[in-house]
Symmetry: C2
Subunit: 560 residues, 2 copies
């Protein structure tokens, strides 16, 4: 048993296989462990007040010293966002990534605890040809396309098997300044090979616009803008910012970068040499009024409708330096992240009132998604011709659709493995085995400073409170007589507008007094638990009969 | 002034022009009023606990006797859903609609108050050629396509102007069993004409599948299903249900209709003769086990992921008669209503685990939207050639895009009027005037039995409660000494898990006692307002410093 374990590679996704985000995968061979990504998941609508969700690392408890390294595929939060919490928890293992990715991890770490990034043990991927030996693991890399610079594909090799994992990926058609990506070289890796494939494109049957067209559209907009042009994009879209800067330099326009994360990322990119330091082009936002309006480009955050970001502040008139005019052009150079649909719609409504030139994906191609589509998925599978296929990093239904694509691309059903979060798949020289038991992968909620302390109970209470509010009744009861003294206090919020509900409150007080007094008349020792239950039930029923609402009723009985 | 008013038609949207839903438009000529639609809006994510939103009818207060009629364009809830509340409030005016629409209004009225539908004064549109004279208004109708049977376009004519209002509309390409719709006859109406156009298609640049293809796809799925086929669609999609029934009859399969609203609507449709009574085809859901599985079609509700509807119950194993098997086919013959994205994704994830044959819009065309697209909008404008164009029934940004389409279709900017909710546009022989003042159109929230009693304050409290919960502190203070008696009670929900936060609670209690005792030591009359404020602020700050959360802190101080 010990031996068989040592000879198989265990692949265990701790997240990212039943939802989008919270990406993290454990590779275990013998005692040695390598981890890929440590991402967060954004909260769903039934997780009120939760900041984000991180992977559960219970499986790694007691194995901290076996962790040879954590590799980060790229700098998006669903791949690095949990690092500042999980790295210290796992004994600060070595981290591996390309420079921009590592700098973004450092920054998040610093924001959480100043000075803490100094503790990081870092191995920069300086060249895509870098090779690392980590215990029994051989790690190497390959080029991929994604919406953030320094994204990288990873090859994880142990004696019995080679795993190919592009991370988040797409194939950019007609990329600007280089050749289209081809994956055929990965067909030559030592076999058997496992392709672990991010599968968000599995239900996307649309051919995207080429990068060339998209960049051209943006440039035409910038060139012809009759007034200022304000371009909102993801703060991690360094490449697009760079393209805008270079074009601005060519046509002699000025660029103001605005938004906390956007400014920080541009600084990082400058330090890394990914953006040229263009002193003649970049101006501070507070100086845009010193130039003619048709010479001004603003690149900013907020395209997802995030309340405190730049574009929503511009839309509501709360930006210090920009009041939108009819001739200004506003461009959403971004996609709609699921969950933000309504916030973006409201943002658009507000902006359309201010300007006649609002450009977004529904009216022009001014953004390319960083994710693939059905055709790309077919191509990568045919290019790599893996022995095993494991779709990951998407909702379950997309993983299933990805399996169908692999099937169509020539793979047999027996060689396709669809994992859940926590599924243990063992690859050995004798074949593949999916274990019956799974490792724990329940949600770990982060809320403020609390990691994992908000659980089902707290969330259920928040949902109840948000639906119908709460109703606290404080009754002071005379210890001697067992009767209510004075009139019970009522504190209610989120239930009804109290000033207009005086009758309802008076009737409720009357009922509480009756319940307590009745118990007192019954004589004997007073059963406070019973009385509280009675108040909770009777008042709950009464309020429901009058309003069809079910506030959380909380009785407080004080003996004096 | 009196005279000018009498000679102009005032068009006032009470809702539906800044959001989707809550559609209701007032037409006023002299004293006479005609209303089109009385719809609800579904709550946004910042309206927790709200059932739905209805239009504000303050403008009609005191004018009830002038209301000649309310016309209903079709039976969807965003057009009829507020009728059971607003009709009684407006003195039960005459209602006008085609039979299915009226029956749906009746049903909703009965569900609210049994027997109340008898009070309705009804004028059925028996024939599209029907013409009505209502005071100064001439009302007539025209055929349109939409996702529910008995949808109708309305022509509202007064001496100075003719309004053409298709309501919700599309143009079905290659409709099954009839000719494609053409609107050129509406170019011959008495001029000037105003086209009020539902504009949800203004950013939809995709050509839809034809009805023929869609029906053919569905039929092939039904014909070839290896096991049972479960088709979820909107309960109002009578036509699709009818198409499925007719096809089932032809190929000798049985159909079970499931879901409360679906069953009711099918009953109504049968009574109206819109669905043939097919005793040999329709079977009760509890009898599906009496037939071979590949002979069974289930038509049901729940395609939007609504927790208590049929398909989600099937997905979670909570349906009494259906446990899904791998060979069952499940079809989502419906679109995704904005706001339901995540619920539908979760539903799909669950169903993909149970069956290998899940069919939805992303993998096959099994539904056609009831709304138009950019091409349809261009066509209808060119067909009708209105003198004035007023885009309505969509978000503001879509109305703006609709104006661009009208522009492209040959209309000049001067003849395009984009209303907000509450905008008064006056059409008279001397031209068009948009008044500066607007009529009130703020949200009226319906929550349980309350109409309009939940306002901004209650909603803000619900949002606060849902984010970080609440924290009630009850301190009993000795009237004589001014000091706290015993230990303050704490009732908290939705904030932290109390059992694991004993330290935090003990420290909080200590702080409360300190605040009260300090006030007592200061001597003089005790200022309870000050003490409560102190507790609220100090405890709030303390909890925030420890948790980075801001629960609603509610101090209760009881003197004994």
């Amino acid at each position: 048993m010990q031996k068989s374990k040592a000879e198989s590679l265990r692949v265990i996704p701790l997240g990212g296989c039943e939802e989008v985000g919270r990406n993290m995968t454990v590779f275990e061979y013998g005692k040695d462990i390598v981890i890929l990504d440590m991402g967060i998941q954004f909260p769903e609508e039934d997780m009120p007040g939760v900041d984000y969700v991180i992977p559960n690392t219970e499986y790694l408890k007691g194995k901290e010293k076996n962790i040879k390294a954590v590799i980060f595929s790229h700098g998006h939060l669903d791949h690095i966002g949990a690092a500042h919490i999980l790295l210290p928890k796992l004994g600060n293992p070595l981290i591996i990534g390309r420079p921009l990715t590592i700098e973004m991890i450092k920054r998040r770490q610093e924001e959480a605890r100043r000075g803490s990034s100094k503790k990081l043990r870092i191995n920069y991927i300086k060249d895509l040809k870098d090779k690392l030996t980590l215990g029994a693991f051989q790690i190497s890399f390959f080029q991929i396309d994604h919406a953030i610079m320094d994204s990288v594909g990873t090859i994880i090799q142990v004696p019995p098997v080679t795993v190919v994992h592009p991370g988040d990926w797409t194939i950019e058609r007609k990329p600007v300044g280089r050749k289209e990506i081809d994956y055929t070289h990965l067909a030559k890796l030592k076999r058997p090979t496992v392709l672990m494939l991010e599968s968000l494109g599995a239900v996307n049957g649309e051919l995207p616009v080429t990068e060339e067209e998209m960049v051209n559209n943006l440039q035409q907009l910038i060139l012809n803008a009759p007034g200022r042009i304000i371009i909102a994009t993801f703060s991690s879209q360094i490449q697009r910012v760079s393209q805008i800067l270079e074009f601005a330099s060519k046509i002699n326009k000025k660029v103001a970068i605005d938004g906390h994360s956007m400014k920080l990322n541009v600084e990082i990119a400058k330090e890394l040499g990914y953006i040229r330091s263009m002193k003649e082009v970049i101006i501070p936002i507070e100086r845009i009024h010193e130039y003619p309006e048709n010479k001004i480009i603003v690149v900013c955050t907020g395209g997802q409708g995030e309340e405190m970001a730049v574009l929503p502040r511009i839309a509501t008139g709360n930006h210090r330096y920009i009041k939108v005019k009819k001739i200004d052009t506003i461009v959403f150079s971004s996609s709609i992240i699921p969950g933000n649909e309504r916030a973006i719609q409201r943002l658009k409504d507000n902006l359309y009132r201010l300007s006649d030139n609002i450009i977004h994906g529904e009216v022009m191609d001014v953004h390319i998604s960083g994710h693939s589509n059905i055709f790309d998925m077919e191509k990568i599978i045919k290019d790599i011709r893996p022995d095993y296929f494991m779709p990951v990093y998407a909702n379950h239904f997309m993983l299933k659709e990805a399996a169908k694509i692999a099937n169509k691309a020539g793979m047999t059903k027996n060689n396709i493995y669809i994992p859940d979060n926590g599924t243990i798949t063992e690859f050995s020289s004798s074949g593949v085995k999916v274990l019956k038991e799974k490792v724990p992968t329940n949600y770990i909620f982060v809320d403020g400073l609390g990691v994992g302390d908000v659980g089902e109970v707290v969330l259920r209470d928040r949902q109840m409170l948000s639906n119908d509010g709460m109703f606290v009744i404080v009754a002071v009861v005379d210890r001697q007589t067992g009767r209510v003294r004075g009139s019970p206090d009522i504190i209610s919020r989120g239930f009804v507008y109290l000033r207009e509900s005086k009758d309802l409150l008076a009737q409720t007080r009357r009922r509480v007094i009756d319940i307590v007094d009745k118990a007192a008349i019954a004589g004997g020792a007073i059963n406070w638990v019973y009385i509280k239950d009675e108040i909770r039930n009777k008042v709950g029923e009464f309020l429901h009969s009058k309003t069809q609402r079910r506030p959380m009723v909380l009785p407080v009985v004080i003996e004096v």
